[in-house]
Amino acid sequence: MSIEVDEVLDKLPSFSPSVNKLLEALKQDFVEPKELESLLLSCPVIAGRVLQISNSSFYGFSRQIDSLREACVILGQHTLRSLIYTLAVLGDYRDEGDRTNQLSYDAVWKHSLYSACLARVCGEAHERNGNNLFTSALFEHLGLIVLDNFNPAWLPSAITLAAQGKHTVQDAVSEVTGLNYLEVSFKALEYWNFPNEVCQTIQSVYDGTDSPDQHILNLSNVVADGFAYGISNSVCTVSLKTGVLDEVFNNEAQALALLGACDALFAQLAKDFLGQS
């Protein structure tokens, strides 16, 4: 069996018509806030979350944002675009009631959101682009869900393989499918016109580029696994590279502060992004 990534991407489910219309409008360089507000209102779940997240500590605005139009103006189109794409994907790729597959999408998103929060605070501590790291970590594992949509038999086998031996999820998926799911992740995001910076960050992890961003993402994933936010029980998402711990955390006191900031952010965003407490 030899499957190409493009075959998988050809079967990506499309968004609902109203979400598609919104995303289509966002491909333009500029959309009038009034028009954006109107398009958002036809996607009530996304609209509600945009308003919630605009007022959360994620953006850290000092005053309350009361309307969608105000959110469109204050956040700016670039930021709003990333946020809407994020919410559209998170909204469409969730667990369905009748799934019997052992891969829980909610577990994947919870792992990804915890990693994203830690990547953001660590990134800011190292004067990297915290928002880019947040979105990259949030969607680094999207490829798992895309592959599961393509062939539901793959992931259970890969997770069993990862749980049995010294395999990371990435290695086990590669062994079962012949595909690297990180490649599926960044190519799916490119297909959906996610910001280039996010696609490139995930591609650099796929390429194995040794960089501060890759080290931050690496450690964030391992900490999420260590803190019981694994993609599945008893499997490791990635492996901790030697030297990364000291490089990212620097010393124990700073590690504790970064973990605290991460939990504070996660506690707020789990509700806003995933609708979970």
């Binding site: 501590a125 900490v223 019981a228």
Partner: protein, 63 residues
């Protein structure tokens, strides 16, 4: 050079991390084994994570 993140993410430890959640993480951490890691590095990480979960209840999570 590492600088601590700023912003308004301060909340009490109880708000950010309940006692039950802390206990759940601690129990998992006992059995957590990275797939391929250098054992020394992994032990250092486990120590930091356990230290974080066990640190006193007083004070802010984000400093």
């Amino acid at each position: 050079m590492v600088t601590l993140p700023l912003g308004d993410t301060r909340m009490s430890k109880e708000e950010a991390l309940s006692a039950a959640e802390r206990q759940r993480r601690l129990e998992h951490l006992d059995n957590f084994r990275d797939a391929l890691s250098d054992p020394h590095e992994l032990e250092k990480l486990r120590h930091i994570l356990a230290q974080y979960l066990n640190q006193g209840d007083q004070g802010e999570v984000a400093e």
